[in-house]
Every structure is written in C-alpha cells, then in structure tokens.
C-alpha cells in the first residue's frame, strides 16, 4: 500500500478511532492485525516469512532466560539472523559469485524475488538488537508473543525505520495507553508535515536526481553540480518525511518511536553529523558494533577505537546495499571520522582563533559538501557510475537537460519550501529567542491564531495534493 496516498491517510485516521474505542487488552492485537494487513498488501509470502522470523526470535529470546547453553543459543540466534539477511539481501554480491566460481548454476539471490524482503535491513537489526539486549542482561525476554510481533512488524516503522530498540518499544505496550487528544493531534501534525516534506519537497527534487543518475552518460555538467549540492537535501526531506510520518502515526496510537533526525545540516563536523542524521541506525551501530568491538579489543589502546570505527562504518556502508559503492560510502565516512578523531585538539585550537560564526558555518558547509560527495556513492548504481559522475562534472561538451519548464518550476518551489524548513531549523538551533517568539505566535490560543494555524494546515494539505498529483517517487530508504 502506498503511504503517500489518500487511501492510507483515511485508513490511518479511521484506525485511530477504532484503536481507542477498543478495550486496552485488544489494542496491541489490533495494531498487529493492521500491521499484518499492511505487509500483506506488499506480499503474503513476506508476511508469512516475517511471522516465522518473529516466532524464531521470540523463542530464542525465551530460551536465553535459562542459564544452560546461553552462549550457544545466542550465537545460533545471531547466525540465523545474519544468514537470512545475507541470503535475502546480499546473495547476488556474496553467495552467487562464489557458487559461480565452481560453475554452479544456482542463484540464491532468486529467493529474494519470491519473498520480496521489504524492510529486512530494519527488522533484522531489531531482531539482533533484542537478542544482544537479552544476552547483556539489559532487558528481560518478552513473554507475550503479540507485543513482540508488533515490535518487529509495527507498520508505521516497518518499511524504513526508525530502527527501534526492544527495551524502548516493548515497555510502552505493557503500560495502559489512555486516549490523549494532545498526543493524537500532535501525532497527526507531525505526520502531515512529514507528508509535506515527502510530497512537496523530496518528490519534486527526485525528478532531477533520479533522471540524472539514469542519464549519467550524457547529462549536462552544470546539472551534475546542482545534483551534488541538492542531493543531501533531497535525501533528508525524503527520509525525514517518512520518519516524521512514522513517528507521527505511532504517536497517535500512543507509541513513541525513537528520533531519527536532529537538524543534521547544522552539524559542523562529520562526527556530529552522524549523531544527527539517521540517528536510530548510527546509534544502533555505535552501541552494538563499535562499543562491543572497542571493548573486546581494549588492550590495543587507541588502536581498538580506530579498528572498531573502521569496521563499524564499513558495515554501516554495506548495510545500505550489496555493492562496492556502498562499501566505499562506509569507508569514506570511517576515514573522515578517524581523521576528525585524531585532529580534534588541533582543529579546536585553530577554531578558537577564528570568529565563532565563521568557524561554525565553515564547518557546517564543509560537512554538508562532504555528505553531498558521499551521496554520489549512495545514489550511483555502481563504482563505474561514481567515476562517470565525478569526471563528467568537468566536461563541457554535454548538453542533455533533463527537466521541462514545469518541472523546473516545481523544483524551484520545492527548494523554496526546503529553504523555509532549513531556516526554521537554523532559528530553532541558533536563535532561541526568535524561535520562542515564533512558537508563542504559532501556539496562540485566541481565534486569530487558531484561524492562522488552520489556514497553514489547509495550505499544507493543498500543496501536498498539488505536488502528489504530478508524480510520486518511491521513498529512497524503501529499498532497505
């Protein structure tokens, strides 16, 4: 089922009413049924597969409660989780070439075409995270199956996260969720603005970005420069749009999901950027890979951190897909993060001798541009396309312009909307007093303020309709 659709919106609103009309005992079950129905709209086989996956992890979790063979059960659980991920997601990159080496004619990658493992990169991390939490004693196994199933399949976050933590998600389902109008209204507002980000900003930018990467051989050089600068914003609005919809929708059901973005383009170095962008994923890798590795090899001293950082970020890159370009994406981040790690004192010293705004803004711009360059690895289908992209940026004999005047206008409008969001984030971050004044005006109680808010909401709805009519692009992170 398409998320950016009237059908999904109406179904979601009706579900909210049904959810709160039901007895508390049946609410988790209702959400599980909704989530199963949602997944079934993509594939029944996927639904069956994911229920089996949840049953497996549920029982592994219960088995970890006993003291006997705890380590063996844990290892078995992790191996199965990783194996199914490798088979369904990375077979064409890892297993099939290996089989072909021995002249085998089996294509394990074909399994993915049958199961259609949408969201596998997300639910696998959640499954592994749950088992690690139990092994480390950070939480107790979930005794009831329905809440655990919901942890894996909860439909607002199923397709593209945030990557939930079991010790954050499950306790919420155990407590009684009362209807709170403010929560529901806030959730709907967050979801509406998420939808706006996706339909009115990201989808309009997608026209240029997608057609550039599918015409890399002859696209005009100036377009490539524009794409390089624009693509971080595109990915941000696409992904944070989805995340806002997920967080907002979950909030209407009284469930708080983990945050995924915190004004990422205001980060003044790559280290802080990754604490603000795709937070749930980067913090997952930080907690379950980096910390575990640096602790395990702590005897190596500082080298343990460097090694852990390198492994973590390489895995982070590979998580995004089966391809050398994704691995390079991760390695590139690792190199810069290690550089920042070793030069922190030196950079701080230089920074102290430069006026603060110049120091901060040069850092922000450099970080943004670095991420723009990194994304060429992300959006390109392979490494040779990455090379074509960078070399073509300096060729003047290319003439293919991709957009018609109407699409250019749509792109300009999306950039204006995007700029409004970015300016609001800057105000929120750097100009607290102005932000407080804006919020005071926005949250005013009298009729004038209320009417103003309703007009803004109406404009948001109209612009969403207006934008969605022209063409929709799939969410970028749906492929994971």
């Amino acid at each position: 089922m398409e998320i950016v659709s009237l059908k999904f919106t109406i179904l979601s609103i009706v579900s909210i009413f049904v959810y709160y009309l039901l007895n508390h005992k049946y609410r988790a079950g209702f959400l599980a049924v909704l989530s199963c129905g949602f997944i079934a709209t993509y594939s029944y086989i996927l639904l069956i597969y994911i229920i089996i996956y949840a049953i497996f992890n549920y029982f592994i979790g219960l088995s970890l409660q006993g003291l006997k063979h705890k380590k063996a059960i844990f290892t078995f659980g992790i191996i199965i989780n990783l194996t199914q991920l490798i088979i369904l997601r990375y077979a064409s990159f890892t297993i099939d070439p290996f089989i072909a080496l021995f002249n085998g004619n089996v294509h394990v990658g074909n399994l993915a075409r049958i199961i259609l493992p949408i969201g596998i990169s997300y639910f696998t991390l959640q499954g592994i995270g749950y088992l690690i939490n139990l092994k480390m004693g950070w939480e107790k196994p979930e005794k009831q199956f329905i809440p655990f199933l919901l942890y894996i399949i909860f439909y607002p976050k199923f397709l593209s996260g945030p990557v939930e933590r079991s010790n954050h998600f499950l306790p919420q389902l155990r407590s009684k969720i009362e209807f709170a109008e403010d929560n529901v209204v806030d959730g709907l507002k967050i979801a509406a603005f998420g939808l706006f980000k996706k339909a009115a900003i990201a989808d309009q930018m997608a026209l240029l970005i997608n057609s550039t990467y599918s015409n890399l051989d002859n696209v005009d050089a100036s377009t490539l420069w524009i794409v390089l600068v624009l693509q971080p914003l595109y990915l941000y609005f696409d992904f944070s749009g989805y995340t806002d919809m997920a967080i907002g929708l979950a909030k209407t059901f009284g469930v708080e999901l983990l945050p995924n973005f915190n004004k990422p383009f205001l980060a003044h170095n790559v280290t802080t950027f990754w604490k603000r962008f795709h937070i749930s994923l980067s913090s997952w890798f930080n907690d379950y890979v980096f910390r575990q590795l640096s602790f395990k090899y702590r005897k190596w001293g500082i080298n343990a951190s460097v090694f852990a950082m390198f492994v973590t970020w390489t895995l982070f890159g590979i998580w995004h897909g089966a391809g050398w370009n994704f691995m390079f994406l991760g390695v590139l981040q690792a190199i810069v993060l290690i550089y920042e790690f070793f030069t922190k004192a030196w950079r701080t010293k230089i920074g102290n001798n430069v006026p603060a705004p110049l120091n901060i803004w040069s850092g922000r711009i450099l970080t943004y541009l670095f991420y723009g360059i990194s994304l060429v690895f992300f959006f390109s289908p392979d490494l040779s396309s990455v090379s074509v992209f960078f070399t073509s940026m300096f060729e003047s004999d290319r003439t293919l312009l991709l957009l018609n005047p109407g699409q250019v206008l749509a792109l300009v409008m999306s950039m204006v909307f995007g700029l409004i969001f970015v300016i609001l984030e800057i105000i929120q971050n750097d100009f607290r007093k102005t932000d407080a004044a804006i919020m005071k005006f926005w949250n005013g109680f009298d009729r004038k303020h209320k009417f103003f808010r309703w007009i803004v909401y109406f404009l948001v709805v109209v612009i969403i309709f207006f934008s969605a009519a022209e063409g929709k692009a799939e969410f970028v992170y749906f492929r994971f």
Binding site: L6, I13, F17, Y20, L21, F179, E181, V184, V185, P405, G406, L409, W454, Y457, F458, V461, V462, F465, F466, A468, A469, E470
Partner: protein, 289 residues
C-alpha cells in the same frame, strides 16, 4: 474522544470547503486566462461548424499554424492543437469533431515534431480533452489543482512575465509577440519518415481521414537548430502501418528553416506570431499543390 471526533469532522469540513473553493478559483482563472482551456471550451461548442481545414498537433502546431491567415486566404480554418497533446489526443479530437459536426473539413494538417515527440504512440490523452469528453466519469483525482497542475505553470508565468501575457488567441492559434533567440547548434539529424509511417495513432488519423474523404497532410514542424534535419524539404507520400496513404512534408529541414529570422522564435522550437505567419505562407503553397 467525542470532542476530538467533533473537531476532526469540523476540520475535515474546513479542508473540504476550502478545497472546493480553491479548485473553483483555479478553474475560473484557467478558463479566463489559459489559451488551451479557452480553445477547448470554444471547440466543444462547434455544432454545425464548416471549417475547411483543421490543424491538429501539439504546442508547436498551436503556435505555428496561422489559421487566421489561411481563413483570410479563403480556407476557413481552425487550430485545434493543444500544448503537450499526444497523437492519440489529436485522433480523439478529430473523431470528436467529426461526430459533432455534419460538415467535414477538406483538409487536416497534423503537425509533428519528432525530436520533441520522442514517442508518437503515447497512450495518454490530454487531460483537458479527456475529462471534457462525452461519457467521462469525473473523480476526486480530476480536481483542477490535481489534474491541471501544468497549466498552473503557464498561469504563474503569465502573472510574473509580461512577455507571456502578450499573446493573442485567434482561430485556435496562440500568437506570441515575444521572441527568444535560438542559441542551439545543429546536430546531424534526418527526417524520421519510417517512424512516422509506423506510428499506430498517426495511422489511425490517416485511416479516419481516408474513410471520410479528407485530404491529410502531415507536417514535420520547424524547430530550433538543434532539432533541424538534413533531409530534403519536398512533399512526399507515406504509407501508414494500417495500409492507408497520406501526404507528408518536411518543414524542419535546415534548407527550409532559413526563412526564419532570429526573432521568429519563442522558447524551445516554438514559433512566435511572425514566425507562424512565415511558416503558414509557405505551407499554403503545399496545400495548393
């Protein structure tokens, strides 16, 4: 919960009413200002029309064929071409005209521009034609702000640019006064007669004309230098995929396009009023042949 449900209903009504209001205003503005809307409304009123010549095609035809000039020359003409119209749209328009009007035209000109219309057999129909045709069932997705978004671009350009407002609408032709110099370079292109002949929907128009005794002329419309071809200008005959014949003339040859000055163009291969007049004068010679 009840309070929330009540608020939800009120808010939904607020959105719905304003949505209707916005759509009505948008539709009203388009009907008053948009050339294609006006043309469609005007052409739907043709009941006993006695045009001797109809021009069909997309925007290059809409700007380029001076039907007022042809009418003054004694061939009563109307330009039915619409911006972004597919060949299927042109077929649909012709069939609709023939079913609504007893008098058949003597000639039909179908303007095509291969470098722009990369694929002739696109199956979509121009939304203006589609939703105003008989038997079409309207749905929510046909709300003007959803369906006619691209006309919003034209409307926006008319608001911000005086040049875009400076145009006349006469006998279906849009006569732009502004000019944009063609800064493109020549490419090695040839007239794609085979592609035209093999097109399903061009074939259907040829068939319709043959069956109703209408002389049909397919015109490869002139474009910017980058789209002009090295083929000869002359008049020829093509055999369509469904076995019918029609005349075709290549007016997009470099040789022919020398008649145009730098200021005869508007953006992207479209002729302005002066350019359209020059083209139609030449085209009249072919019609007389």
């Amino acid at each position: 919960m009840k309070r929330f449900a009540f608020k939800t209903i009120i808010f939904s009504l607020f959105i719905l009413l304003n949505f209707i209001l916005i759509n009505s205003i948008y539709l009203g503005l388009l009907m008053l200002t948009d050339w294609d809307c006006r043309k469609r409304i005007e052409s739907l009123k043709f009941n006993n029309a006695d045009f001797e010549l109809l021009a069909l095609g997309a925007s290059t035809t809409s700007c380029g064929i001076d039907t007022e000039y042809l009418t003054d020359m004694g061939i009563k003409s109307y330009n039915l071409a619409l911006d972004g119209a597919t060949i299927k749209t042109s077929y649909f328009q012709l069939a609709e005209y023939l079913s609504n009007n007893v008098n058949r035209p003597d000639y039909v000109i179908l303007g095509i521009n291969p470098p722009i219309q990369k694929v002739f057999d696109v199956e979509s129909i121009n939304p203006l034609v589609e939703i105003t045709s008989d038997g079409y069932e309207l749905s929510l997705s046909d709300a003007p702000i959803l369906r006619f978004r691209w006309l919003g671009y034209e409307l926006f350009m008319k608001i911000v640019s005086r040049k875009h407002r400076l145009a006349d609408f006469s006998f279906g032709q849009i006569k732009y006064k502004m000019s944009v110099v063609d800064n493109t370079d020549y490419c090695e292109l040839y007239s794609e007669v085979e592609r035209v002949a093999s097109s399903h929907w061009i074939g259907e128009i040829v068939r319709l004309c043959s069956e109703t005794g209408i002389e049909m002329l397919i015109v490869e419309m002139p474009g910017y230098k980058a789209t002009q071809n090295l083929s000869k200008t002359g008049l020829g005959t093509i055999q369509s995929a469904n076995g019918f014949q029609a005349k075709m003339v290549n007016l997009n040859s470099r040789e022919f396009c020398r008649i145009f000055e730098d200021d005869d163009w508007i953006v992207n291969s479209h002729l302005n009023e002066a350019g359209g007049l020059k083209l139609t004068r030449e085209l009249a010679k072919y019609l007389s042949k």
